[in-house]
Symmetry: C2
Subunit: 451 residues, 2 copies
């Protein structure tokens, strides 16, 4: 069987480049404009993308002067998009630290019903102390505690999604019996973090469960991904790093008794596409020149637990930075930034330019052919099952990718020319979870024995 790659469109207001909103073409209030996002989703669906995706955090970060700030809650936004599309998958980020499992499980099941089986959930534990202050806490729970809660949260969600058997609805008008009580089960979950009786107040959804996505790359994050996730978004700067991550995560998945093909690994890539290399580089340079470095330096300083004045723009990072172990949130992001700066001996100004383009994700400027080559290289070299496409500018960057890169990938036989199924799981080639009977273990679909 030919291996096909998977493409997810990671959407964010005017694009992933932090200065994209300043371009003449950009709608600077796109972040609250549902029509903007419906248009983007239709473009991605035209390009036969597996899915679109929104990041999220229940907190307003940093300086609102910098770029479009604030965003529509993703399950709401994706529902509005569902009504404007018919095939493309819809992946929303939601936090296990700042939600209740009953409400969130029901909301994802609702999105799955409303979209005809296109819901996905990017499971995050929400790093950083700021979000905690919006939820009655003085500081974030410790990293390990957040991941422990996340695992139990997922177990509860799986049980709730399984609490109605698929054939629990009888709809027997003649007999006057709508549902079969014997096929709707309390879950009676009692754990360290949650006590939830259930059942869910919603029949089982088209996909059974939404697609489970994970994006943390810390040790705890990889552990959670190996145990539960079906797709992984990751930031990798070099082929070697990407291969190492890919091999590691597939091995961890297999070690837990799961089929490693049941986890699709999608590194991020920020393509800046031009008709010629020069045109692509000119667009990249134009964008970088629109960055105001003081905004980015403030944020970099927060990430590194320094003051902005500790980071002169034309010097490299200070030599004595804390280890990842000492960081209580966004561990993998911290390490990625420090490693990138050290490896390439970047000044703070250069580092800011690199992060401004894709926030630590791989940026790639070139022609459509070169972008397709870059994608194929990693795909063929066991560094990726697909890519998280992060256009620097939206909608134009997504349009160019869809109209000029996708056809190349299709001609090479690497990417679908039509959707062959109707659910998000169909697109990723993943089975609909079989009801696990409410056991404490992960459901069977996540436990497929390696042959």
């Amino acid at each position: 069987m030919t291996r096909h790659l998977h493409l997810n469109a990671f959407l964010m207001s005017t694009g992933h480049h932090e200065a994209s909103w300043r371009l003449p073409e950009s709608n600077p209030v796109a972040n609250t404009d549902v029509a903007h996002y419906q248009n983007l989703a239709r473009i991605a669906e035209r390009g036969k993308f597996d899915s679109i995706f929104f990041a999220d955090s229940p907190v307003l970060f940093g300086d609102v002067g910098r770029r479009p700030a604030g965003s529509l809650e993703p399950t709401v936004l994706l529902t509005a998009i569902a009504a404007a599309t018919s095939k493309i998958g819809l992946i929303a980020t939601a936090s296990t630290t700042y939600n209740d499992p009953f409400n969130l499980a029901r909301r994802f099941a609702s999105v799955d019903h409303v979209s005809g089986g296109r819901a996905g959930w990017n499971v995050v534990t929400t790093a950083g102390p700021d979000a905690a202050l919006n939820f009655n806490l003085a500081d974030q729970p410790a990293h390990a505690e957040r991941y422990d809660r996340a695992a139990e949260f997922l177990e509860v969600a799986f049980k709730l999604w399984d609490s109605w058997e698929d054939d629990a609805t009888l709809a027997d008008k003649e007999a006057g019996v709508w549902g079969d009580n014997a096929k709707v089960h309390p879950i009676d979950h009692v754990g360290r973090h949650f006590q939830v009786r259930g059942p869910l107040n919603l029949p089982r959804s088209p996909q059974g469960y939404p697609l489970i996505v994970q994006a943390g790359s810390s040790e705890d994050g990889k552990g959670l991904a190996a145990r539960y996730s079906e797709a992984v978004f990751t930031a990798q700067q070099t082929l070697e790093d990407a291969q190492a991550f890919y091999k590691d995560l597939k091995a961890r998945t297999a070690a837990l008794g799961r089929d490693p093909n049941g986890v699709k690994i999608l590194p991020g890539i920020v393509p800046v596409i031009g008709g010629t290399v020069e045109e692509a580089l000119r667009l990249e340079r134009e964008l970088d020149e629109l960055i105001k470095p003081e905004y980015a330096r403030d944020q970099l300083a927060r990430t590194l637990r320094l003051k902005p004045e500790d980071l002169p723009l034309d010097q490299q990072l200070p030599a004595d930075l804390p280890d990842e172990d000492e960081i209580e949130g966004a561990k993998s992001r911290y390490t990625l930034i420090v490693t990138l700066a050290r490896r390439e001996k970047l000044t703070v100004r250069e580092l800011i330019g690199r992060l401004g383009g894709g926030r630590g994700h791989r940026t790639f400027s070139g022609t459509p052919e070169q972008v397709a080559d870059a994608i194929q290289e990693w795909f063929d070299a066991d560094a990726a099952d697909g890519f998280n496409i992060m256009p620097a500018v939206l909608p134009s960057g997504l349009e160019v990718f869809t109209d000029q890169v996708v056809p190349i990938l299709q001609r090479r036989g690497l990417f679908r020319t039509e959707y062959t199924g109707s659910t998000l799981r169909d697109h990723y080639g993943l089975a609909r979870p079989v009801r696990s009977g409410g056991s404490l273990e992960a459901p069977e679909s996540l436990q497929a024995a390696t042959a």
Copy 2:
């Protein structure tokens, strides 16, 4: 100025009659069918209804054999409906007992953005012990405690919705300044139930706040309604009771320094409409004959804190029932049922028939002209500012009301023939809240002095 009545369509799967799903015309899985609800909303919008509304509770109640069980989460469902309509208001029920204010405030603001200013929130405290068991609790918080939390929850939500000034977004591409930090404010709320720093991670929405709706009629419920709500849904069986409730709530509202016209009172009515009285009564009888009394008796017994065997079908209710004061949830519903049974000396079987049609709301069978008369009578007699229309069967009952009753109300000059505004607040004739500056008091719009 002519007084116009307001119409809200209270939607529920195949209709408010519990046996409606058994009719040949009904889609018995309408409860999870987004296309069914989009169709209903389009019908109501054709009828120029102010709004549609969904009840909700985060728990699966009772016997799934009885009628369509489980429902789509209302903010998700209404977002899907927003995409299929353009004018009609969208009111979702959400619990202050089983949500966090930050997440819920943001979700309603998101629905308001996505719908172009059509969001409403029916604020409930969620009665009954069962929901508590889905949220880490052994029993529900006491009635007064739930209402205390509800009031603080609303204060936090108002502050979050006000945390961005309307002109906080500058979008100054030239200067590279997207937002004005001086116009985005932390709320720094510290209260008995919540500590929330804010600001919200979303610019202020088209309506400022969603329309605030309340439906509890207990003393605490009326207090909350008088203090905060802008529309009240209520169950009233007789003109006298409705007038008393109307007068009481308007007086309470005025006593708090608010304009009593700022609270629209909408009793529920379950119209069963026929071309002739006989046809209407025949439809009502056909529906009642499809009720299986054992389901309804089980629920009645739970509501009355009795065993089903304490309620022989052909006898009246037992003489010794607890007082409302002893009931810790759904107080007003308890009293309504007991009062109805005693006043009309109903047997259990007859009571079940009455409740099966509209769950305690006023049922009315007749011709379109008679239904219009019934509506006008209460409206003219200061018993209602409008009505919560609860069709016994959906979609047919809503279609008949829209096509045959609405035109009569329009001809009489009682109801709009076109929408004159674009937001839900416009339809109800309510002002957009002015930003209160994050004070601990209710915002100015809810404090309008009586002239």
